[in-house]
Symmetry: C3
Subunit: 341 residues, 3 copies
Amino acid sequence: MKFKAAEIANLLNGEVKGNPDAEIWTLSKIEEGADGSISFLANPKYEEYIYTTGSTVVIVNKSFEPSQPINTNLIVVEDAYSAFTVLLNHYNKIKNNKTGIEEFARVSETAILGEDIYVGSFSYIGSNVKLGNNVKIYPNSTISDNVVIGDNTIIYSGTQVYEGCEIGKNCIIHANVVVGSDGFGFAPNPDGTFEKIPQIGNVVIEDNVEIGSGSTIDRATMGSTYIRKGAKLDNQIQVAHNVEIGENTVIASQSGIAGSTKVGRNCMIGGQVGIVGHIKIGDFVQVQAQSGINADVKDAQQMYGSPAINAIDYKKSYVYFRKFPEIVKRLDQLEKENKQK
Amino acid sequence: MKFKAAEIANLLNGEVKGNPDAEIWTLSKIEEGADGSISFLANPKYEEYIYTTGSTVVIVNKSFEPSQPINTNLIVVEDAYSAFTVLLNHYNKIKNNKTGIEEFARVSETAILGEDIYVGSFSYIGSNVKLGNNVKIYPNSTISDNVVIGDNTIIYSGTQVYEGCEIGKNCIIHANVVVGSDGFGFAPNPDGTFEKIPQIGNVVIEDNVEIGSGSTIDRATMGSTYIRKGAKLDNQIQVAHNVEIGENTVIASQSGIAGSTKVGRNCMIGGQVGIVGHIKIGDFVQVQAQSGINADVKDAQQMYGSPAINAIDYKKSYVYFRKFPEIVKRLDQLEKENKQK
Amino acid sequence: MKFKAAEIANLLNGEVKGNPDAEIWTLSKIEEGADGSISFLANPKYEEYIYTTGSTVVIVNKSFEPSQPINTNLIVVEDAYSAFTVLLNHYNKIKNNKTGIEEFARVSETAILGEDIYVGSFSYIGSNVKLGNNVKIYPNSTISDNVVIGDNTIIYSGTQVYEGCEIGKNCIIHANVVVGSDGFGFAPNPDGTFEKIPQIGNVVIEDNVEIGSGSTIDRATMGSTYIRKGAKLDNQIQVAHNVEIGENTVIASQSGIAGSTKVGRNCMIGGQVGIVGHIKIGDFVQVQAQSGINADVKDAQQMYGSPAINAIDYKKSYVYFRKFPEIVKRLDQLEKENKQK
């Protein structure tokens, strides 16, 4: 889709300086601009690029005073950065405006469908599924029987939602996510084999949650595994059965939370972190990447290490770990001195 | 599906106290009970909940003597816990009783199909595939040419099985698992590029294995990668080419085993563990979460750390690591004393 | 498919000793040989197996002089090892020679298709997609709108490529990979919730790249996330938005690279490594498994630990870490001695 500079200026309450008919079809950084792209200049640090950019249009602040001649078209606005964000969101909305049920989709007759939904080819909508208004299911996804998905939620391709799980409104579930697979529960038999403990609960994902591609969230043994509203999970996160992830908690890629652990609200958890089962992490906790949490953590603590301790303490100890050979030499020296006495 | 209390009592060899026509359609914990749910009370610790539960029916031990009035219906059995387990399994079986080949499934004419199988929409059954009796393939899975799957095995949606792999009886393979992708094998060229080493082996998964969602198991370069009978793998496990995972070994989420390593039987391996290639882990070995094993391990060892050492030794050393600043202060003090002499 | 010994000898410029009509349909190691398989003997260490092998045919060097009677058929060549590699590649090519568009594939009318392509059932080729010659898309994959894929590239089943990404020539993308999911970018609101930052860039994978099953590669916020030519990524790798992985760099399983980090060329990165965002790793860098890189690394460094330091230093310090209880005892002893004076 192409837009004219004048149309975009209109959207942003801005004014074109240059050719109002200049055509735009993509967005780019000012230093990577090419024919057909629109960029912005907000930070004076990047000013040099506006004199050489290949972008067809650049959005600038009203206050911007060029110090050299400019060869591109400008859109002048009050605040270039926030205008560009408006544009980004607009662009994103246009890109994701698919609607309708494509050929080779399989929608059960008992499913209840909201308005303006999209179901891509090869997506499976099971019995008694409820899809809210404006829900988008991209191709190759399976929404199993009795699943409920709220308004405006997007499920990208290849995502598998098991029977009976619930996903709230305004969520984004990226590609190849699994929601509701069985929790990892086995009872040992005397002969060393294991008996499967049936996992009959579900997963409840509340509103405004985003889950990154390749993540897996297991259903509860009984009851529910919860991802509370506003939580943001990066790619390849593992959430075990009966876990609860608190409101607005952010978890970076490849972290895993073991069974029945409760993570509080507004926590920031780094990448590749492991959290053992059956513990309680407070609110506003921060965990450094690659840490291993093996005990309860109080509110607002900062943790680091495996097993994790207070982050500042860990860093102090690690400084000495790095100097360990030198420290042992000092010990050798002391022993030598003591022997000579 | 709804059941009457009397029907369930009959299944469990129990006796109804209350309304035999009370209707049940789900299971729940006694403290989370709601209309239509059945719960159990076995542990006296939870007795208080039976007087307030919202569950329509509660299964109790014959020996249970209420100390307050009860407002729900009871099913009285010899052993409430094991009766509930029977019910769980029954419930699970009913939930997973799909049969038939759904529309938009693609089953090769040369595939050999057992009785009572289920092939969901958008699942692909390749040439010469053999599916045993009662095999269930959920939607959006690919069972490539020449794959063999034994009786009663369940493959959940989005799972991809490459050409020529073998999966035994009574296995459960969760969603978005990959079985049989190429091993990671490359030979360096003098110019710094790499030549792919063809990976022409396969993966053999024996009977009674469960594999968690998002796990990946590579085919052998030649020969087979083996997951021996009764092994249980959690979500997002990585098993490289030519690895062998022993009988009844249990591996927690996000662990990875590098190429050609042999893990013994009845091992317990924690989450996010890494095991290097070309080593041998004995039987009954236990590995703490986040450990890194870089050398052979004898039978029945307990390992911890990265690189991993004996678990007790690791914990001892880690206690001192935490006290490192204090230890260095003691060293400073000794040096000071020695200088003063 | 079956081949006769004479046909294979012809392919390898070798000579049959034994039955030229012996039939072969698989390859195996000499020690695992069975009826219908062909093996090779190059390393004299394995000579014993040739006298007992079950293989129907064994490829041997011209220089090989048997010391006992041989019961199998031989193909005599100049160099048995390289002849076997030729055979492996040949075998692999035959196995992957699918062409055509299978039933239940969904190819947009606006897609531009090269010659001899394969699109498996339940694969989705979106609007304006360009597929080069000989591209193979296995079942259950989604190639979204405006994606470009170069000649000879193979996309295995269940792989999801988001809108507008580019994949070069001669690439192999294994099953259940995600290319182009949104980068993990959020701006905090004063009330503790997060605002999504639209991710409108793409992913560019250059020629000769291989990506292992279950890996996830996020699109750039703006611009591109790059996987440079000849890079090899193992299974379950996470590449965040705006990352660049250099030419011929090899990354082992379950490693993750955070946003905007640039990894140089010809690096070797072990398994389960974490690299923080916004840093620069030089060329020819080697990183030990499970390490955590949290700062820039110069060319040709070897790193280890979390946080990672020079690998030799890490190993030295770790030796003392293991001896920590003993070191503290020495300190106790010194303090005791000093007190006694």
